[in-house]
């Protein structure tokens, strides 16, 4: 009867994403060196590491923003060297950003609705009229967005301009916009950066709930190692672009290489 039980899919899920021997450099800087790991359907997978370890680069590689010089990425069984961001989005990869990237002059609701863009199929022709198929479609989308608003408990700010909201709420709206895509894989880039303890707790709760309720696979980057240990099913640890550990929170916690990386042993 415990709420802390693992989501059902987490243990034996099929593999959704495989990263194989990926290397990425910018000029002489080698951001990622020969990293491999996988993400199973339905799990919460964390990528952690000290500053400059290559976490955000890794996320950018996964959603096609960066193109690795070497290695392969297999997503939903299809392998490709490069994937473009819009392909990634079309295939159900959504993400949030380390620094909130919302439309600040639009309301919460409109921001979340924007997340539905890829799922709006009625042509411009139908959109010319108020009533008709495009209208019906929009109602469907609004319904879905309202589910998300309810889910994230942001009813109060539904009609408020996002730019005026406090940071913690903006982060929540951004999560809402990513969820509006109904993603198969949700990439969260430091979802708790800059938050106070209470906001962090709220956000952790939402991430767990998204995973449990929608069955969304989540790959997240996080700085706060304590939070990650509680949230994740499995953790990849990067340091200076290398993978130094990979496993369940307990295994990672006791890994000497990880302890060294975080305590700052000289390389």
């Amino acid at each position: 009867m415990s709420s802390a039980a693992l989501p059902p899919a987490a243990e034996a899920g099929e593999i959704l994403l495989v990263v194989e021997n990926v290397s990425l450099s910018f000029g002489g800087v080698r951001a990622i060196r020969d990293v491999s790991f996988d993400v199973r359907r339905g799990e919460i997978r964390a990528i952690i590491g000290p500053n400059g370890a290559g976490k955000t680069s890794m996320l950018n590689v996964i959603n096609g923003f960066y193109h690795p010089q070497a290695g392969r990425i297999t997503y939903k069984g299809a392998t490709r060297r490069r994937m473009r961001p819009h392909q990634a989005a079309a295939q159900g990869i959504a993400r949030t950003f380390q620094n909130v990237a919302l439309f600040k002059g639009m309301t919460t609701l409109d921001n979340i609705l924007a997340g539905r863009t890829l799922r709006m199929h009625k042509s411009f022709f139908w959109q010319l009229w108020r009533y008709g198929p495009a209208f019906a479609e929009e109602i469907e989308h609004r319904k879905y967005c309202e589910e998300i608003i309810d889910f994230l408990e942001i009813e109060r700010i539904r009609k408020e301009l996002v730019g005026r909201l406090p940071y913690g709420l903006q982060k929540r709206v951004e999560l809402g916009r990513a969820l509006a895509m109904q993603p198969d894989l949700l990439l969260l880039d430091e979802p708790m950066a800059g938050m106070n303890l209470e906001e962090k707790e709220d956000m952790s709760r939402f991430i767990l709930d998204v995973n449990a309720e929608f069955g969304t696979t989540i790959a997240l980057i996080e700085h706060d190692i304590g939070v990650v240990m509680d949230l994740s099913d499995r953790i990849v640890v990067l340091d200076y672009g290398n993978k130094i550990a990979d496993g369940k929170p307990d295994e990672v916690r006791s890994d000497q290489a990880v302890i060294d990386a975080y305590l700052g042993v000289v390389h």
């Binding site: 309202e146 309810d150 009813e155 539904r158 309720e213």
Partner: protein
């Protein structure tokens, strides 16, 4: 559009389920309850509500609920929970609403004390709390929840979704024999069935379960529905805590009798927006809600252009002068009426619309004293705001003000059919139609709360005004007398001073003394602002509190209070003769305030004994040194010489003098 009593001349409708069935038959298509969900208002008619309650009642019965069993109701205002209350009553079981923000231990106490068999809860949060304490509660057999989110993976052996239970029941009720059997339960309901158990807040000791009977609850509600002429056209926002008597009375009981509609807000955070969308006709809020609304309006108005601000304040001035008189039907010159009408067009109506108050016919406030200015502000806009005084033990109403006879400093004459009297020591006692039966399983406390002749002791001290209205002074145990026998009600005097924005806390002394004195704290925010405008430099609270011009400012307020006291026959002798401004702010960390920010008079008198002595020995100053606790927990010693100011008192005035302060 008939009133409650005329709709039921024989009084056959003596339980809430009977009223529910009555409305389902008579006004089945009228809205009964609304809920904003996913951004949309959903409405259930009386007929639909009846059908839902019926299904839920069957579900509860299937789970073993029968006469006298207790059903806990935990959560925010949701139709499913209100239906749960009615469903329990249908089976002659007793609903026991529990505060949704109660921590698990408090909840355990109530569930155990009330012998709750089934809990009907809103969501995962409440389910988690109950599961955490379930091991301690062997008599608790099942938990039903409304919102499924997060609960899918839970063990459902003793946990059920309300929607599923209702669906199963609907299938079962298709069977005519089962349906007839269930329907007959309503008619078996009797006036002396326990209708609900409401737990007191428990500020003094453990909270007690106040048992109210069906017949008395209905009778009380019927009286006030009649009094305020509530009908099936009325609508209100059900946003008060379910476990509080105010919600059960004003939303549930009154609407079940009047046949009106209650709307459940989307969430606790959206009440203001929902209020605006619903536009209730009947509204209740404690004074601090009205106060924070006013502050918000004023702050936002500051952002407007100079011209708009000028228009706004001009018309507020007009409203202050004529608004209340126009509402009360008193003579007002024609030009003032025209001026006011213009104000309605440009300011009052739009303002009320923004606040969601456009349709309000009757509004009440209660719970604490409300300042004259605050109270008048809303009334001058044309909002019929009144006061009531009530208690859980009375099933709310003890007194209430009638339209047109409203004052800020009283709570009205006895409510319909309420017998009201003052005990020799000034304690208010009443006998009312809704009067409670007993404290659950606590005959001792029940006996303590009653007089020999069946009146309920409120524990509050009051006086009657010449127009028959009751004025609540203080808790009876805190009221004392001066040496000359004059009534001394410290909180009454303190409140009068605290209505000034410059004054934050006040402690009044006078019991068994020759005259009244006060020690007070200034409100640093507003006095600081005043100091800035007047070019007074200061470095700390202590420094500004001792400033002669601040003393002069406060003296002006104290004199004003003395003038107000002089106008009241029984209070004129309790004017403030001497006062001082404390060199430090009273703080809960130092034990001077309770955690709910109430002054602890006795403790303060001990701690500042030197100051109290100074207040009474005629000296112009007194020295203190007191230990203080800083925010980081360190302790320090505060030593100061505090000036004591003496004031002339005002001769008692003729009682026919106008009550209002200068407009």
């Amino acid at each position: 559009m008939q009133s409650g009593a005329s709709r039921d001349p024989e009084g056959a409708l003596d339980t809430f389920p009977k009223w529910l069935r009555h409305h389902a038959q008579v006004r089945g298509a009228r809205p009964a309850i609304r809920l904003k969900d996913r951004g949309i208002w959903h409405t259930w008619t009386w007929a639909e509500s009846y059908e839902h309650v019926r299904a839920l009642a069957h579900g509860l019965r299937t789970l073993g609920i029968g006469i006298g069993d207790k059903v806990a109701i935990v959560g925010a205002n949701r139709p499913a929970l209100y239906w749960g209350i009615a469903a329990a009553q249908w089976l002659r079981a007793v609903p026991v609403p529990v505060y949704a923000d109660a921590v698990a231990d408090e909840m355990a106490y109530i569930i155990e004390n009330a012998d709750v068999k089934i809990a009907l809860v809103q969501d995962q949060e409440q389910v988690d709390k109950i599961l955490a304490i379930a091991a301690r509660l062997p008599q608790l057999t099942h938990v039903l929840y409304d919102e499924e989110r997060g609960l899918r993976t839970y063990d459902h052996a003793r946990l059920h979704a309300i929607a599923e239970a209702m669906a199963r029941s609907r299938a079962a009720l298709a069977e005519p024999v089962a349906a007839a059997e269930l329907d007959a339960e309503i008619d078996r309901g009797q006036a002396d069935d326990s209708s609900i158990m409401l737990y007191t807040s428990g500020t003094t000791g453990r909270s007690k379960g106040v048992v109210l009977s069906a017949g008395r609850s209905v009778a009380a509600a019927r009286d006030t529905v009649e009094f305020d002429k509530l009908t099936d056209q009325d609508e209100q926002l059900a946003y008060l805590p379910l476990a509080w008597v105010g919600d059960h009375y004003l939303n549930y009981a009154q609407m079940f009798v009047a046949g009106g509609c209650m709307a459940c807000p989307e969430s606790a955070d959206t009440v203001q927006q929902d209020l605006r969308e619903i536009g209730p006709t009947f509204y209740f809020a404690p004074p601090r809600v009205f106060e924070s609304l006013l502050t918000r309006v004023m702050i936002r108005m500051e952002d407007a252009s100079r011209l708009k601000r000028a228009i706004f304040h001009h018309f507020l001035g007009v409203a202050r002068r004529f608004g209340e008189k126009i509402m009360d039907g008193k003579p007002v010159p024609l030009h003032a009426r025209l001026h006011y009408a213009l104000g309605t067009l440009f300011v009052y109506a739009p303002l009320k619309n923004v606040l969601g108050f456009s349709r309000i016919r009757t509004a009440y406030t209660a719970g604490e004293a409300i300042g004259q200015d605050l109270f008048s502000f809303y009334r001058s806009l044309g909002m019929n705001l009144k006061q009531l005084y009530g208690q859980t033990e009375a099933f709310l109403y003890v007194t209430c003000q009638a339209d047109g006879a409203v004052r800020a400093d009283t709570v009205g004459p006895a409510a319909p059919n309420v017998a009201l009297r003052l005990a020799p020591d000034g304690e208010v006692q009443f006998k009312s139609p809704g009067q409670f039966i007993e404290y659950y399983k606590d005959p001792l406390k029940t006996a303590e709360a009653m007089t020999q002749d069946g009146f309920v002791k409120t524990g509050d001290a009051g006086i009657f005004e010449a127009d028959g209205q009751l004025k609540i002074l203080d808790r009876a145990k805190d009221v004392g007398r001066l040496r000359d026998g004059t009534l001394f009600a410290p909180k009454y005097i303190e409140n009068k001073l605290k209505f000034f924005p410059n004054i934050k806390e006040v402690v009044a002394y006078g019991d068994a003394r020759d005259f009244v004195t006060v020690m007070l704290n200034i409100e640093l925010a507003s006095v600081g602002n005043w100091a800035e405008r007047n070019g007074i430099a200061y470095g700390s609270y202590q420094e500004i509190a001792a400033h002669p011009r601040v003393y002069a400012l406060v003296a002006k307020h104290v004199r004003e209070v003395n003038r107000a006291l002089a106008r009241e026959a029984q209070m004129a002798g309790a004017q403030i003769k001497r006062f001082l401004i404390l060199p430090k702010e009273l703080d809960a960390d130092d034990g001077e305030l309770t955690r709910t920010q109430k002054v602890r008079r006795g403790f303060i008198a001990e701690r500042y004994a030197a100051l109290v002595a100074g207040l009474y020995d005629g000296s112009a100053a007194a020295d203190i040194s007191a230990e203080v606790t800083y925010e980081d927990g360190r302790k320090g010693v505060l030593a100061a010489r505090v000036r004591i100011e003496a004031l002339e008192t005002v001769m008692p005035l003729d009682r026919e003098m106008p009550r209002e302060r200068a407009a």
